[in-house]
């Protein structure tokens, strides 16, 4: 009996967060329509074109998924850290660190078969992102320094430092832009759809999401992690090593973001290129919020944002609707998800308006 209640409450929680996320996205798209309208296009036609792209051709669908892949990595990273109530705004920097690490392994460790080379590059990127985030978490736990400011400052440091490497010691001869040597063929990720950027990176990130979700739901570490996140003091009283859990979780979060960088290098660019990320790190915050901070929920959430990104990228070639439009939608999503009461209030206003209409109709009927 009690178990039933527990299950149904878990189910209704999930349902309410799905409803919440749905309306958050809808309201954001409605507000986004204002920007489209200002640029002089029809919001309805534009949205039709954006959403149509992903579902009309296989290439469009593949573009959506390939746009969503790095967002899945950074989304899982943010969602995981948020489970211990820590905010990883450093996914952008961890992504660059992982990308540089994978680019080095891909280009300079050669004569390996692909089956070894790819996992090795991913592992090194995983470690690079993990060490950076781990150090931040150690500083957070032992000195009380804000992990938000630390990661944001580190983003700048890492982006500048990798840019120095790509423009200085690691720049291939004769290259005009800041980039590193091309990676070996054995380090390239296999394509899922020919002539697109969709690679097995998608399968890797789905596997990561499943593993993290399993870890949270079915392991002792995952249980201790959730208890720590819900109530730090209670966790301490229960004998959980809160510091250790926080540091490990945050490091794991950074490691996953690092793998996202590796996926970009091994699957899309085949080298580290300075400025390669178009805000993937910060998009992860939005996607995690849309997924109600569930690691597996990140996959469909990233797919939704991927539709918007892929559609807008294609549309921006022929119209003057800029790609930054999606960034604004993403932030609106964060705002609406963060304040569920705001969504309920807006819905209530709608209900009152439609309710009044119905009453008026009834009243009108009586007059006749």
């Amino acid at each position: 009996m009690r178990l039933d209640n527990l299950k149904s409450s878990k189910y209704s929680n999930m349902r309410s967060s799905v409803v919440n996320s749905f309306f958050a996205l809808v309201f954001s798209l409605v507000l986004g329509a204002v920007f489209i309208w200002v640029t002089g296009y029809s919001p309805f036609e534009t949205y039709k074109a954006i959403f149509g792209l992903s579902f009309s051709t296989i290439k469009g669908f593949a573009l959506t998924l390939s746009q969503a892949t790095p967002l899945m990595f950074t989304g899982i990273a943010f969602a995981l850290a948020y489970k211990v109530k820590m905010i990883n705004t450093g996914a952008e920097g961890q992504l660059y660190a992982g990308a540089m690490a994978a680019a080095l392994v891909g280009a300079y460790v050669t004569n390996l078969p692909g089956i070894v080379h790819i996992p090795l590059a991913l592992l090194v990127a995983f470690i690079a992102g993990g060490i950076i985030a781990g150090l931040v978490a150690i500083a957070r736990v032992y000195t009380g320094a804000s992990e938000i400011i630390l990661t944001l400052m580190l983003n700048n440091v890492i982006i500048l430092f990798t840019s120095y490497l790509a423009n200085g010691p690691l720049k291939p001869e004769g290259s005009g832009v800041g980039q590193t040597e091309r990676i070996a063929d054995s380090a390239r990720l296999m394509r899922l759809v020919p002539q697109t950027q969709l690679t097995i990176a998608l399968l890797i990130v789905i596997a990561v999401a499943i593993i993290i979700q399993f870890m949270l739901d079915r392991t002792v570490f995952g249980y201790e992690l959730k208890v720590t996140g819900n109530n730090r003091r209670a966790a301490e009283v229960a004998g959980i090593n809160v510091s250790k859990i926080s540091i490990l979780t945050f490091a794991l979060s950074g490691a996953i973001a690092g793998m996202g960088g590796a996926a970009m290098v091994l699957g899309v660019n085949y080298r580290f290129i300075e400025g390669f990320s178009s805000g993937y790190g910060f998009a992860g915050i939005s996607i995690a919020a849309l997924a109600a901070y569930s690691p597996f929920g990140v996959i469909p959430a990233a797919f939704l944002i991927g539709i918007l990104r892929a559609g807008t990228i294609t549309l921006s070639r022929t119209t003057s609707i800029p790609i930054e439009f999606v960034d604004v939608i993403q932030v609106l999503v964060i705002i609406f998800v963060a304040a569920p009461t705001m969504i309920r209030q807006i819905l209530n206003i709608f209900k009152r308006i439609t309710g009044k209409k119905k009453k008026n109709e009834i009243a009108g009927g009586e007059v006749q």
Binding site: F35, I87, I148, I149, L150, V331, A338, M342
Partner: protein, 306 residues
Amino acid sequence: MIDFDTGLVISILASTLRRTVPLLLAATGGAFSMRSGVIDLGLEGMMLAGSFFSVMGAWMTGSPWMGLLFGVVFGIVFSMLHAVMHINYKVNGSISGMAVNLLAAAMTPLLLTIVYGLSGKSEIVTSFSNFDPDWLMGIPFLGPILGSQNVIFFIAMALVIISWIFMFKTTLGLRMRMVGENPHAASAVGLNVKAYKYFGVAMSGALAGLGGAYLSLGQMGMFVKDMTAGRGYIAVVINAFGRYNPFGALAGSAFFGFFDALQTIFQSVFPSQLVMMTPYVVTILVIVFGLKGGRSPAGTGKHVEE
């Protein structure tokens, strides 16, 4: 190599002051926010909004003073997002602050494309000239340093003094600090806790917006995408470093302004990316090793139920 003579020292100090102003304005704004018990993590976005809209205001009206007003007003507008989310909807202040930062970072490039049809930077607008009357330039050493500042520098210095007097020498300031330290006690003696918090956040928006306007309108006469480059976050650290006191913010901003100014000199000697890392590295070192013993107002992030 770099020759150290008086001319160089003067130019470093003048440049230090110019780089101090935006940090100082934002950090002083942050002091208002933190003293009223609301975390000041949205400074970066308020600054960025200020730097964009001040240029737009000057572009529309042709007057830099109107531009300055636009910067302040839109700094407040963006700060209200933080205030409404955090104070009314009880969203975690770090999340609502980041929402302001991300919104400004996303909206300014979008508006740049919509308004100017340009990506990356705006058109150049009329800016402020330096305040350099003959009597000032005649003073040895100090003259040329102060003479290479514009009017916003002097406004900023006055605002620091006024802010300090408000916070520590007036009843309203005392009440605002009480709300920040103990909102329940403040509410019990009949203070309108929400109103004080709104005031604190609005002041942080106004001052950060002015700081942003100094960066764009005051220095370059145009807006460049992401031109605040993390200065708002550095201001958050300066504010904690200066113990949420405007004069502390002045000392902290001068310290960071100095490191920022050194960049321009060392860029001729070292690779530019490595030199540009310095302010961020210094910030990280200060957060990890320099903030021990400091504490934020005890009521930060606490809400009062009516």
